[in-house]
């Protein structure tokens, strides 16, 4: 087997492989930075919760439009995710429950509701597709949606970069100087939901968050500045997509899980080799004089 047939031929020959590759690179561009911020805000579990919260909306979209219509399901997911985010924020503001606790109760409800709705009409195959995605079935329309979402994400992040950083680093200060922290927090949650909706078609509700959090974890191991973390997370997500697709093609594995597992493997390697990792600790270097 030549290098060409191993690495390039699958993409050169099959349109669905090309579309899947472009989709996963786009997902990485949007979800990578969002995941880094999510992790730095200690909201990793909120991301997980949100990915479940998207489900009932997507399911209702499926019921209404049927036949896995992407637009209807995406819209439904967006509405459901945002509603849960708003409700959870409201609950944590008006009761003593912390935000992650209220998220947990909402997403469990959402998940149950979503599965129930799909099972009303769809088959088990439909349910599997919604839960775990079908990246190889992505069409041009879906690609435009994913690309638009990652572009919007990048532009919005660039616009609100400073208040987001300030709100995450020192929320009390931002409040004291009159910055509107909760506005940016809300906007950020909107971006999280938006990117989960993008990842949803490719990887399904349950694993969309994987391409958000694993690259972010990898980035945190390697970089010490925020821009570098964004870049590494994006790169790690795109690389996982590329390698994962190839592996799934050659080994005939399911593509979504293979992409996520590739990211997991990158994470494991990073754990060993990163500056604070195990290998560096074994390779002791002498300390400096001052």
């Amino acid at each position: 087997m030549s290098v060409y047939s191993l690495i390039f031929q699958p993409f050169a020959e099959y349109g669905f492989m090309r579309r899947a590759l472009v989709a996963s690179v786009c997902l990485g561009i949007g979800a990578g930075p969002v995941g880094v911020l999510l992790m730095l805000r200690r909201m990793s579990l909120v991301g997980d919760a949100m990915s479940h919260a998207v489900l009932p909306g997507a399911a209702i979209g499926f019921l209404i439009a049927g036949n896995l219509s992407l637009l209807a399901m995406g819209l439904g997911g967006l509405v459901a995710g945002l509603s849960v985010a708003l409700l959870a924020g409201l609950v944590s503001r008006t009761t003593t429950l912390r935000e992650d606790a209220s998220f947990a109760s909402f997403y469990l409800t959402s998940l149950a509701l979503g599965v129930l709705i799909v099972s009303l009409r769809g088959s088990n195959i439909d349910l599997l597709h919604i839960l775990f995605g079908t990246i190889l079935a992505i069409d041009a329309q879906a690609l435009v949606l994913v690309g638009t979402i990652s572009s919007v994400t990048l532009v919005l992040l660039a616009l609100v970069y400073r208040p987001l950083v300030a709100e995450c680093f020192d929320p009390g200060f931002l409040r004291a100087v009159g910055g509107r922290g909760s506005l940016y927090h809300g906007l950020f949650l909107f971006l999280v939901v938006l990117n989960l909706v993008a990842g949803f078609q490719a990887l399904g509700t349950l694993m969309a968050v994987g391409l958000m959090m694993l690259p972010a974890a990898i980035a945190q191991l390697w970089a010490r500045s925020l821009p570098a973390m964004f870049a590494i997370a994006t790169g790690a997500a795109a690389l996982s997509g590329f390698v994962g697709l190839l592996l799934s093609y050659h080994l005939r594995f399911a593509s979504g899980p293979t992409i996520i597992l590739t990211a997991s493997a990158l994470y494991a390697v990073s754990l060993l080799t990163c500056p604070s990792g195990v290998l560096r600790r074994l390779l002791k270097r002498p300390h400096l004089a001052g």
């Binding site: 730095l40 200690r42 400073r162 680093f169 009390g172 004291a176 100087v177 009159g178 970089a223």
Partner: protein, 251 residues
Amino acid sequence: MTSAAIRFQDVTVAYDRHPALHHLTGSFDPGSLTAIAGPNGAGKSTLLRALMGELAPVTGRIERGGLALRDLGYLPQAAAIERGFPITVADTVILGGWRRIGSFRGVTRALRRRAAEALEAVGLEGFDARPVSALSAGQFQRVLFARLLVQDAPVIVLDEPFTAIDARTTRDLLDIVTRWHGEGRTVIAVLHDFDQVRAHFPQTLLLARDLIGWGPTRDTLTPANLRRARAMAEAWDESAAICDIPPETRS
């Protein structure tokens, strides 16, 4: 720099109905330099947080002399700061210029220079590019002080600013406080070191949930007053009756 006095009018702040600050009346004059002293749990931080609008009084009013909350530079006792966040020392200090740059305007070269000067003033030149996660507790406190310098606020509110700071830096920071006073800013600082207060603060507010004394430091930090402050019961009285002090009788 300040237009009018900051006035507390019969202010009570309570947690769970138990007062932590009880019927406080008095004012900070414009340009005054006041130390707030009192035992642990006396309500000093509570007073500052009410002043900063973080806690709402259950009785009384606080007038801020026509200033908006954002005109008050505030260094809290235990800020909820994410110390692990990947931000450099220089960027942290530049955030002090928020009133000028806001969310969207660009950071000017002048602001960058001010930030560098502020870092030098707190003895942290050469630390610009360090991530804040790689600072000692005292160094981090000095970074926050530098940010306050850049903030250039007409009223400055400090809650135990010198805890965890070594003697030499404390002297440097006290010089900055004195300089602020000379520039006509109103400075309010919670301190536990009475010698420091006597040496550097013309005015003192002695607090033990109730007001013990407020005025020139020499008249406030008297042995009799300090004895009274120490006698405060720190624990809440779970069976306390409803306070029946009618409003506006204490002035």
